[in-house]
């Protein structure tokens, strides 16, 4: 009530109410994020087998981490995750940028294009994985059918390790590029039209306009989109799970898939916790880069 008479003053009760309103969010975060992450790191120092509770949970120090270091399957899952990240981050950016430029044209009706970008975003990742698995099917898949029409021999997309990785990358790029395009499109629409008009007066070609106006103006949006994509790529799970289940063998398995298998199929909880802790650390390194970038650009905007 104090704030009615002195609305500009920061009264104590207002601040108190502020903290009160933040409490539910804080409690939920504590319960679902902070406490579990603490538990995760703690558990990673123990040998825990959920299927054999009678064995107890002996403290083993860094043993789980040492084991990861010698674990070939861990390293190969890291390698696959790195491949997906290195291929799909620029891939989705290029396709997304192309889609955004196309979608930025002066359409009379905007909804088909907008929905065309939204649908892949709204589709669950597993569904996209299943659909692309169907596309890449050896005999009945449309990809090999199109190849046959072009006179190319059918390819064993999902059973050849290298091709399976390629197929998964294509599916991820399709799924991720739409969201990328939506963000870049929002960026494109903030570029003042006068810049292009001025360039046209000076006789600039479309390519020159793209290089010297569009790209620099789009830089912040591109950076945010890239970092978002990188963080999601590190966690890749659903699409390879649906397309190959990690196979053939474990030649397409990602780190997230290996962690899931270790904890839920092998019930090797301590080791799974160590791997998940490593994943957490990797993600946080990327995220801190992201936060540093946004804070820097926010500072720039204020000046």
């Amino acid at each position: 009530m104090l704030s009615i008479t002195k609305p500009r003053r920061r009264s104590l009760s207002e601040r108190g109410l502020g903290f009160l309103l933040l409490t539910p969010a804080a409690l939920l975060l504590l319960l679902i994020v902070v406490y579990p992450i603490g538990q995760l790191v703690w558990n990673s120092f123990f040998d825990i087998h959920l299927a054999e509770p009678w064995k107890g949970e002996p403290f083993t120090g860094l043993e789980n981490y040492r084991r990861a270091f010698d674990d070939d399957r861990f390293w190969s899952s890291v390698l696959h995750t790195a491949i997906y990240t290195i291929v799909t981050v620029p891939g989705a950016l290029l396709v997304g940028l192309g889609l955004a430029l196309l979608a930025n044209m002066p359409f009379r009706r905007k909804w088909p294009v907008r929905l065309g970008l939204l649908l892949p975003w709204a589709l669950p990742l597993v569904f996209s994985g299943l659909i692309f698995r169907w596309f890449f099917e050896y005999k009945q898949g449309i990809v090999n059918d199109v190849l046959a029409r072009l006179g190319i021999e059918p390819l064993a997309w999902l059973t050849d390790p290298t091709l399976a990785i390629a197929a998964i990358c294509i599916a991820i790029i399709w799924k991720a590029s739409s969201f990328m395009a939506l963000m870049l499109l929002a960026g494109l629409q903030t570029i003042p039209r006068e810049l292009y008009e001025a360039a046209e007066v000076d006789g600039a070609t479309p390519w020159q306009k793209f290089i010297s106006i569009t790209l620099p103006m789009l830089r912040p949006a591109i950076m945010v989109a890239l970092i978002f994509r990188t963080i999601t790529a590190i966690q890749t799970f659903d699409i390879p799970y649906a397309m190959t289940g990690g196979g053939p063998g474990d030649s397409t398995e990602t780190l997230a898939m290996y962690i899931q298998k270790t904890t839920l199929d092998f019930l090797d909880f301590g080791y799974g916790s160590a791997l998940a802790t490593l994943m957490f650390v990797i993600s946080m390194i990327v995220t801190s880069g992201y936060l540093r970038y946004t804070r820097r650009s926010a500072g720039r905007r204020e000046h």
């Binding site: 009615i4 207002e14 601040r15 109410l17 502020g18 009160l20 309103l21 933040l22 539910p24 969010a25 939920l28 975060l29 679902i32 994020v33 579990p36 992450i37 538990q39 196309l102 979608a103 044209m105 909804w111 088909p112 294009v113 929905l115 065309g116 970008l117 939204l118 709204a122 589709l123 669950p124 990742l125 597993v126 569904f127 299943l130 659909i131 169907w134 099917e137 009945q140 449309i142 939506l182 963000m183 960026g187 945010v224 590190i234 799970f237 780190l255 997230a256 962690i259 899931q260 904890t263 799974g272 916790s273 998940a276 802790t277 957490f280 993600s283 946080m284 990327v286 995220t287 936060l291």
Partner: protein, 274 residues
Amino acid sequence: MLPKRRTVVWLAGIIVAVNGFFPALWILFTSLKTETELMGYPITYLPQTPTLANYVQAFTEQPLLRFLWNSFVVASLSTLLCVLVSALAAYALTRLRVPKSNLIMAALMAVAMFPLISLMVPLFKMMRELGLLNTYLALILPYAVLSMPVCTLVLASFFQDIEPDLEAAAMIDGCSRLGALFRVVVPLSAPGVFTAAILAFVNAWDEFLLALTMMNRLNMRTLPVGITLYQGEFAFPWPLISAALIVAIVPISILIAVFQERVVGGLTAGGVKG
């Protein structure tokens, strides 16, 4: 020169639309084909003898209606919880001059970047020990938290645009601060609340990893996990899976088709401003 320009625009639109719609369309065609047509070679594009038999079988082979219901319950309740909690937090951060509100917001955004798999491992043990596996709560709580950062961000940007005078007027008329929040600020930012709700709903509807982990009883599975259960040990019954996929895609497609402008606004507010 002008007609040529119109052609380019048309072509651009067709490329974007085909890229977005083709996979779903192809699944729709597949779902209408008979098993024999599908096994034939070379493959057909349009269904030769369209049939709805796959849809009937999709509902009888697995409890598809039950999957739909589970997804619906989990997505709506987690959305409700998420929007409520986020609205309170966003209000505190934008209008109540909480100290260090920028830092709190940044911390919240960092949480949004946490890898889900790292949360899944300890959450699984926690829910197991609490006896919450195979209950809706095991998904509702995490889903509400996962969408909280983006919902808080979207709501905060809407709250910021409301005139402080309106609130002051309501309080002079005898409203409390909280009363002003729910009677003035929330109705005025209804579009924002709505946008946040749709984002939270779609996130919950689409989530797979936690749903796979927390629910292992068949009648508690959500749609994304349920769909993967149609595959046999050796066979992959594509017409059946396609039909189930179409049933699963339709509700969410209608939702985003109706509210597309709002969804785009919310997504880009979360991304570009964040």
